[in-house]
């Protein structure tokens, strides 16, 4: 394996990690506020479809992005309504939204474009174009770091950088602001927030809507950045991998970055090689694809430290006497 191959694998790791990262941070906001969200997948899927559909129709990727985010926000609001206002079961609401997304996207796509449940291929201004980071060309001559910067880190679409910047932003919001303190508190003990005179309902809705926004970005990136158009079930379980990454990351933003990069890297490796030779053992590609899930099970079983979810997670808040 030469250096160029490594750079290429890292480059695609970052691209593949981005939707995971955005969705993972989305889940982080929601779950830190005590609302479990198994519907990341569904929100990404509707966002992917509507961003591709609007981009294809209008020719503007930005309008597409807006539509994708809006669709995801609608789904988030439904989840909020079911699990916050009506105190329904959060898992069931999430599962229902996943089914709804899988069904409606295909139905509408077929009815709208009649191309076998897909949107037309996006070209030109209907897709996000790569951005070259400053000095990428000038620095590419530097050994090792130069190509890493110029080829692995530079040359991605804007949403990749949004995803990367979302990590410090999330950390700052959660741990350095009043909103973050309240958000974390509401996921641990909503009673404490309520008796302090702060609305539990409003905080949880805010968290769920931030989750919708980030899922919208993740879905739009899938259809207009990573791929060129929507295809049936194109999220392919990424919402669930993002949940796995969230547990892997113990609900912490920086850990989430590393977890998603790791999972992205594993995906990149399995995309590139059908089997992997490790001296004598030959590891089949399927094993590499399964690795994120295996790691998650290992984490959940408590082998690598303890992952404690937010204490009030999954429980609708009811004022007690």
């Amino acid at each position: 394996m030469d250096f160029l191959t490594i750079v290429q694998i890292l480059d695609s790791s970052i691209r593949l990690a981005t939707p995971l990262l955005l969705a993972c941070l989305a889940g982080l906001f929601s779950e830190r506020a005590g609302v479990f969200d198994i519907g990341l997948e569904g929100k990404m899927l509707v966002a992917a479809f509507f961003s591709a559909a609007i981009a294809a129709t209008t020719g503007s990727v930005w309008l597409g992005l807006l539509a994708g985010v809006a669709a995801s926000l609608v789904f988030a609001a439904i989840h909020g309504l079911a699990s916050i206002t009506f105190r329904g079961d959060q898992l069931i609401s999430g599962v229902a939204l996943n089914f709804l997304a899988a069904g409606t996207t295909v139905l509408i796509a077929q009815d709208w474009f009649a191309q076998g449940a897909r949107t037309p291929a996006l070209t030109g201004a209907a897709r996000f174009a790569p951005i070259d980071l400053p000095f990428a060309d000038a620095l590419s001559g530097i050994p090792l770091l130069g190509p890493l910067y110029a080829q692995a880190l530079s040359g991605h679409t804007i949403l990749v950088y949004v995803g990367l910047l979302a990590v410090p932003a999330t950390w700052y919001v959660l741990f350095r602001t009043r909103f973050g303190l309240r958000l974390r508190a509401v996921g641990e003990n909503p009673g404490a927030v309520d008796t302090a005179g702060v609305s539990v309902i409003r905080l949880r809705y805010a968290a769920v809507l931030i989750c919708g926004l980030l899922c919208g970005l993740a879905g739009a990136y899938l259809a207009t950045g990573l791929a060129a158009g929507f295809t049936q079930d194109m999220t392919a379980g990424r919402g669930f991998i993002a949940l796995a990454a969230l547990i892997f990351a113990k609900w912490r933003p920086w850990y989430a970055l590393w977890a998603c990069l790791l999972f992205g890297f594993l995906q990149a490796v399995s995309n590139r090689y059908s089997t992997i030779d490790l001296w004598i053992v030959e590891i089949p590609n399927a094993f590499v694809i399964a690795l994120p899930y295996i790691l998650t099970v290992v984490i959940l079983a408590g082998f690598v430290g303890r992952a404690t979810p937010p204490r009030a997670g999954g429980v609708p808040y009811v004022k007690e006497r």
Binding site: T177, R178, L181, E188, A192, T195, K319, R321
Partner: protein, 528 residues
């Protein structure tokens, strides 16, 4: 005379058909400690929830310092200068003390400045009111006494000058409770108004200036504490004369029924909860185990009741019990004549969504009297339940009611009826009267004493020292998984037991409060 700090006029609140508060009127004068006493379900908590903006009254007016005030939510209550310390603390376990205190009362959108300001103010408050607490400690590492201080500080930080405390001593040792009372006296001297909600007559007599009594949603009386006594208050609470003392003859201890030697239990996270317990209980006596919750009493009951495994030797009527393996289960224990009234009736004693008659079968469902071949004889079971309900005066006397529809006292009567009517040789009973009203307490105590007089052995675990002192024939005190010592009720008092409960054996010496605090924090840290 100044305006009352709080005046309520004609407050009424219903939940469906249940009238929780009926036309309540009360005046709380500033700078006093005002007690509100009543049985469970008398409407005390509902009334305070209305005052703190948790519920809105259906009718009635609230006046704060003479001004008519509307309290639609907690924010409004805080603005009106009302602070509340709930029975179940409203703290975020993995936040620091400081973070818990500023939560909801932050200075600006960024945390650094508010935390800095809070730290300074907190230091001042701690010094003013004897409320020392480490601002950077995490709540989960603090003992309950400390956590309660954080709750009080939270209210003071929000500039509350009316402080409501709901059953504040339920989780405290006697010495922690004394310290709390000193803090409350200090707050009163500073001109704060304090409302103390409790069902403990002793506390009312000890610390309040005025006391209001509630019964079945109504305010039945408000009297000066100095002009009343416990008997009168109990009568006002229950509506009839109540025996506060347990009437019992001297015990006639017989043969050893339960013998425990070097019993040890290690919990799931590897902490040793019982560290070599040795005890005997004889026929015809009640051994009371005193201790602050979380010092191994629960584990002791669980291992004896077959809900947990352990090591050591336990003999019942001379036969050794299996402490591990398939025959260390609750069913085998019951077959050996051990009945168990668990500490937490709602989770371990009953299935709350099942009918009374179904609950009466639990643990004894294999009894031939309840079975007809392969099927259960539900008619026989219901007849048996009707009989038990009548004998133990369970209300409503309806075996088709689900367990959750009975009051706490009546739920407990169902569990006690189920276990006592089996005529066990040994009764394990945990917190028999937790959340049970005074009338039912009297009845339950009489039943336990009657079982003793019938020559049975009884192991009683309770965190209520009063209960231990009045029921037990012998008292053992547990601390940190060990027995600190045994005393006879006639030769000890609350002070001595309280010190032993805090891990201090040499009880003749004077002890600093810090010593007691330190010992307890050590244990609580491990429990948390």
């Amino acid at each position: 005379m100044s305006d009352p700090a709080i005046e309520l006029r004609g407050i009424s609140k219903s939940f469906g058909a249940v009238k929780a508060n009926k036309d309540i009127a009360i005046r709380v004068m500033p700078g006093t400690i005002h007690g509100i006493i009543g049985e469970n379900g008398a409407g005390k908590s509902t009334l305070m929830s209305i005052l703190y903006g948790f519920y809105r009254a259906d009718r009635g007016e609230i006046f704060i310092r003479g001004e008519r005030t509307d309290i639609p939510d907690s924010q409004a209550a805080i603005r009106a200068g009302i602070g509340m310390v709930f029975q179940h603390f409203k703290l975020v376990q993995n936040f620091t003390v400081l973070e818990n205190i500023v939560l909801g009362a932050e200075e600006g959108a960024l945390l650094t400045t508010s935390l800095g300001k809070a730290r300074t103010l907190l230091k001042q408050l701690s010094e003013d009111y004897e409320l020392q607490v480490d601002p950077d400690a995490r709540i989960e590492d603090l003992g309950v006494g400390m956590q309660q201080r954080v709750e009080i500080l939270k209210a003071l930080y929000r500039q509350a000058d009316i402080l409501i405390l709901d059953e504040p001593t339920g989780v405290l040792t006697p010495s922690e409770a004394d310290h709390l009372f000193r803090i409350l006296e200090g707050l009163k001297r500073e001109g704060k108004t304090i409302i103390l909600i409790t069902h403990k007559l002793r506390e009312i007599m000890e610390i309040t200036d005025t006391v209001s009594v509630m019964r079945r949603g109504e305010m039945t009386a408000t009297v000066k504490t100095a002009e009343t006594g416990p008997e009168e208050l109990a009568e006002l609470m229950v509506g009839r004369k109540v025996l506060l003392r347990v009437e019992k003859k001297a015990a006639q201890p017989g043969a050893r029924v339960l013998e425990i030697e070097d019993l040890r239990v290690v919990d799931g996270s590897g902490v040793e909860r019982l560290r070599g317990i040795s005890l005997d209980v004889r026929a015809g006596e009640i051994l009371g185990i005193a201790g602050v919750a979380g010092n191994g009493q629960s584990e002791l009951l669980e291992v004896l009741g077959g809900m947990r495994s352990g090591t050591g030797r336990v003999r019942v009527n001379g036969d050794e019990l299996d402490l591990v393996g398939p025959r260390a289960d609750a069913r085998t224990r019951r077959a050996r004549g051990i009945a168990h009234v668990p500490e937490d009736r709602q989770h371990e004693g009953l299935i709350m969504d099942f009918h009374a008659w179904e609950n009466v079968a639990f643990g004894y469902h294999a009894d031939p009297a309840y079975n007809r071949g392969l099927l259960m004889d539900n008619d026989a079971l219901r007849r048996d339940t009707e009989r038990k309900i009548a004998k133990f005066d369970v209300r409503p006397a309806d075996c088709w009611q689900t367990a959750k529809n009975f009051s706490g006292g009546n739920q407990q009567k169902i569990v006690i009826a189920r276990e006592l009517e089996r005529d066990p040789d040994l009764l394990l009973v945990g917190q028999p009267t937790r959340g049970v009203d005074i009338g039912a307490i009297e009845f339950i105590h009489q039943q336990i004493v009657a079982l003793r007089d019938a020559g049975k052995a009884i192991l009683l675990v309770s965190v209520e020292l009063d209960e231990i002192l009045s029921l037990s024939d012998r008292i053992a005190v547990m601390f940190d998984g060990r027995i600190m010592g045994e005393r006879l009720p006639s030769q000890t008092d609350e002070r001595e037991l309280g010190l032993m409960m805090a891990g201090i054996t040499d009880t003749d010496r004077g002890h600093t409060h810090a010593e007691v605090e330190g010992n307890l924090a050590h244990v609580h840290g491990k429990v948390g």
